[in-house]
Symmetry: C3
Subunit: 473 residues, 3 copies
């Protein structure tokens, strides 16, 4: 007997009647606003090719989503059993129906998790699944999804329209020629999909294949990069090109947000050592710190918004990394110090309101201790939304509770979905809108803000803060 799958229309709202009533009212005013997605990892090729499709339900929902398979892996399920191929060529499950069955058998693992919440929303509201995913219903749900995914109105482009996405920013390496973005613009999609300049592969000396990346950068830039000076000039040119192609922002991921300025001869010497493959750990540490400074300087020139994502210890699980590669759910956060690490950068550029620097953390203890006080003082700083593990109902509440009193709402950068899972975008924005409306309803019910304030703040959270912070038209 199929269980009818209905989602609570009041999900994420506090049960208290007063707060819930106010939350509903606020939510009504924002739930249908267009989606502004200023930072994420959707592959633009999905949208550039009108014929692109999502593949099977497993291709769509399981194999590309490390939020999903890390949880299954943590419970002893091998990635091979989920159809994810190790780099050693070991055999892997290829029957998508069996993979789906396994997923359904373990779907209880996602109880109370953000992945569980997004998936339910996606299955019910995007794909019209009507019975709850269980071991018993697994094959019927699979068939339902498979049928939907073949329909013309379930192409990425059709869903883009249906999702009411006003703008979607992708993440693109500094060496990208942005062919797909170019194609999209030619097709008249101008402004809807924007690239973001991500230079980590060339600005971080510890990036795998850095020398090759520099070679590639030279190739794309039209001239070999034999000096730091040339390197910086090429970066500036690439940024100008991204800017021209619609980018409004850059993005850098760093383990430690250490910033420092090297003297011209020092930085040139380090760069030369790195080109020859002889950079020391100290070189890497100082060069990376210097490049954060340089990127801030360039942002002051070209007005691209600067983003720093700090504190993820990448590929913590080395044997796993060697077998499956990067971005497979094995990155673990560490303690992060912003107050001292950002001192040089903020002293040099933080007082200039023409710069916008958006900070992201995985260390929530920095919210109230460092980030809110920093953003509540420096004109250049804004705080990014709760990131990654903290992009969740409780994560959002902790963020709002801990940053808003000191930073205020207007030093925040709104919401990012930060996802490569295109079909989860509406669910992710919806959770943010629900949680912010409920949180504002709580403030209002406690007499801490007034009705006018609550309504304005709901609109700010849903759309306006993000557009403003990312300088989106």
């Amino acid at each position: 007997m199929p269980t009818n799958w209905t989602l609570d229309p009041d999900r994420c709202f506090d049960p208290d009647v007063t707060q819930r009533f106010l939350a509903r009212e606020l939510y009504q005013t924002v739930k249908d606003l267009p989606i502004v997605s200023p930072h994420g990892h959707v592959d633009p090729a999905l949208l550039a090719d009108p014929e692109a499709r999502f593949g099977s339900p497993v291709d769509l929902l399981i194999t590309p989503d490390h939020y999903i398979f890390r949880m299954l892996y943590s419970q002893g399920i091998k990635l091979e059993e989920l159809g994810i191929p190790p780099q050693d060529g070991a055999p892997v499950e290829t029957d998508h129906r069996r993979i789906w069955q396994r997923f359904a058998d373990y779907f209880y693992l996602f109880r109370g998790t953000p992945s569980g919440l997004w998936l339910a929303d996606e299955l019910v509201n995007v794909f019209g699944v009507e019975e709850k995913l269980t071991s018993t219903s697994a094959q019927r749900v699979y068939e339902h999804l498979e049928a939907r995914l073949k329909q013309p109105d379930f192409s990425p482009r059709e869903l883009f329209a249906r999702f009411n996405i006003e703008v979607l920013c992708t993440t693109d390496p500094a060496t990208s020629r942005l062919e797909t973005h170019r194609a999209l613009r030619k097709q008249g999609w101008e402004g809807k999909v924007r690239p973001t300049f991500r230079p980590d592969a060339v600005t971080d000396l510890s990036a795998p294949g850095w020398q090759e990346n520099i070679r590639l950068l030279g190739e794309v830039g039209g001239e070999e990069i034999g000096s730091y000076k040339k390197f910086v000039r090429t970066l500036e040119e690439r940024r100008a090109f991204f800017n021209l192609m619609g980018a409004t922002a850059t993005d850098q991921a760093v383990l430690v947000p250490y910033t420092d300025t090297l003297e011209p001869n020092e930085v040139e010497a380090v760069f030369q050592r790195a080109l020859r493959g002889g950079a020391t750990q100290e070189d890497t540490h100082r060069f990376n710190a210097h490049m954060l400074m340089e990127m801030a300087r360039m942002s002051l020139d070209d007005r691209l918004v600067m983003q720093i994502h700090a504190g993820a210890f990448r590929n913590h699980n080395e044997p796993f990394y060697r077998r499956f590669g990067r971005d497979m759910g094995a990155d673990i956060p560490i303690v992060t110090d912003f107050t001292r690490n950002l001192l040089p950068l903020l002293n040099k550029y933080g007082n200039d309101p023409r710069l916008t620097l958006i900070l992201f953390t995985l260390d929530e203890s920095t919210y109230a201790r460092e980030l809110a006080p920093l953003a509540g003082h420096y004109p250049a700083l804004k705080l990014g939304p709760p990131w990654w593990f903290h992009d969740s109902v409780n994560g959002m509440i902790r963020y709002l509770d801990q940053v808003s009193e000191t930073a205020g709402l207007y030093n925040l950068a709104g919401f990012n979905d930060d996802t490569r899972a295109f079909c989860s975008i509406p669910a992710r924005h919806d959770v943010w809108r629900r949680v912010t409306c409920n949180w504002l309803a709580g403030r209002l019910a406690r007499g801490l803000i007034d009705e006018e304030g609550a309504h304005e703040m709901a609109l700010d959270c849903a759309v306006r803060l993000a557009k403003h912070a990312y300088r989106l038209p």
Copy 2:
């Protein structure tokens, strides 16, 4: 005029009517389940001797409980006034009625604390006290307790049955011959009380009397320990013996959970230095890290569940330690880094689902930042419940809120009472059951889990997660 002492039947539940109604319903399904206590410090001798008794109310509730007397001490009351003898032989209060009076006079200090909650539950529900403990009622309550403690149905064994304890795991040094456990099993108590292998006194080079402990270990093992190799073999044999005697787990307390592997000749050299009393601080640091690795390796062989309790700075108060000894309420937590310290161990053993490693922390900032992401990825990892200072209503809520979204519920290890205060066991499990049911009711009322999920999760929290994590039959 005696005040009638009644406990709120809805204690620990949110006041919101919807959530409270759901919390009550969930709690009804778990409140009478047997108690599974997989980690604690009850002296098994209490249960091995059918004639064992608890002594006076002061012997039961005050002198052995550092949760109680640390609070009184913090307010300027001397331990001597509570009947706790210093090691310098200074005079000490011996009149238990006067000690009890002093305790009652200061009972207000425990308002809103977990000790206050447990004590009230214990006095009312275990001992049938009917008037609130105050300065005025103190002597009457004392007499009531004294009378009860003399009754045959208030022996440890009778209470064990009345408390409905399915299994109780004790903590036993590696050098223990487990005589009491042997006696218990002979008496037909098989399986109800299980030992736990606690090797700190021999695996931690900084343990007081380490050399003597090693001598003792050799004695128990039947052969002198003159080499690291012999040491490891003896440990393995002791584990096998504990296993045979019903143990399913080991437990180690470390200041810093640093892990590392020493080369065979290195570790032998360090061990020899330590035997001669010449180990350096660096030796200790590295040897202890090596022993965590070794214990994980052994757990993979013999399948004993491994526990690490990290981050307590033991005996912070040195003059107090010299006067009163260890475990007297003067241990203070420190910042703990799991991400980097556990890297070697997790890289070597963390991907093997046959290992279960349960982590405990006193640094709550690691919940969402490190522990939940680690447990949400590594198959071998599970998170222990809120520990020690955090085994409290708010501590549990913070734990559930901060770990459950990223780790899910199924990477948690259920509840531990971790107590030596036998009569507080039901109260401690009851608080956990109430708080988890209320927390689940809150998730349900917010539409974040469904009814079926909430019911399953309530049972999981109460009993099933603990049995599963600790491999209890």
Copy 3:
């Protein structure tokens, strides 16, 4: 059309009907109690001169309040536009009506912040403003305030009486002759305004102008300070003088609460180097640690309560500091370790209940991890209230939730307003009283404390804990 500005009489209370009802009841019992302000920064000259006035609305509310202008600055508004003069003599806005207009235009930035809450309370309840501050109402509100500020009953002294301040402690440098306090006592204000001994300028070797400060200290002490021994004796004499003038406490601000004892010859050598301007960074670090020990020793002698405010990285923004000076909203918190840093001090003096040492932190992760366990053990320790960025509705809830279970209520030091903004004092105490009553109502509604306990604890929070901790009569 003017908007009528009314504040929610139930502000800060949870919306749940049960909790709100109980919160109201508790609040009724404390809301009109006299204000006890044991730590703050009001200039005593305001009260010493019967003719003193507050100046314009801008002089009162904007230019002296770094909570206000840091937020405006963070949004790109120059301090010069707010009438705050840089030290380089650049031109500055002098038209207070235009400054006020600018402030009103940006008043929305304070939505949901403590500054917003205090300001609303101050404008409505102290100054009787009836329309909400907006761009449109700005000039009318300005005129209203200007008129009020000229009325005789809006002098500082009249407001002191109207605010029902029982005692107000100021913060005074060690070199102060306390002329104003002397004048106040002469005028019959004895006991109402008390000085606090703040020796940072002479005990912290890194204090700007340390040598000059020492010269000044010698001058005030009546004898040149040429040796550490003389320095200590002078400090002791100054403390005795402050004590005589009504002080009951001292206060020190430190970046890191490191404590250590230097040998007499060592400390003398460091002091001599410092006098000659040759102290190293290591000297400063160790001397400052030594001075915390010395201050504790002196407190044991003269019974002045010792306060330590730790963890503010002062003047983080160097170019801003050079232009505008100190205490301008550019201090940023850092991670703080109390467990290890305070070890020497607590081992030497922490067991003596005659000492009271009150700790303040800006690193909330220390609440449950370090501070509550420390205060729940050491007789000498008490925890100061949520400080600075954490003196807010959510900050207070986090504090109460995180410290009360382990430290209990009776190891806390009640509330400090810590403000130089005299007219905000009632609003600040009112927020604390509302939040504590609501929090206690929540404990009561959950059956975690009883009615009698809740009532006592409400009185304790409002007044009694502060008076007890600061030894105020």
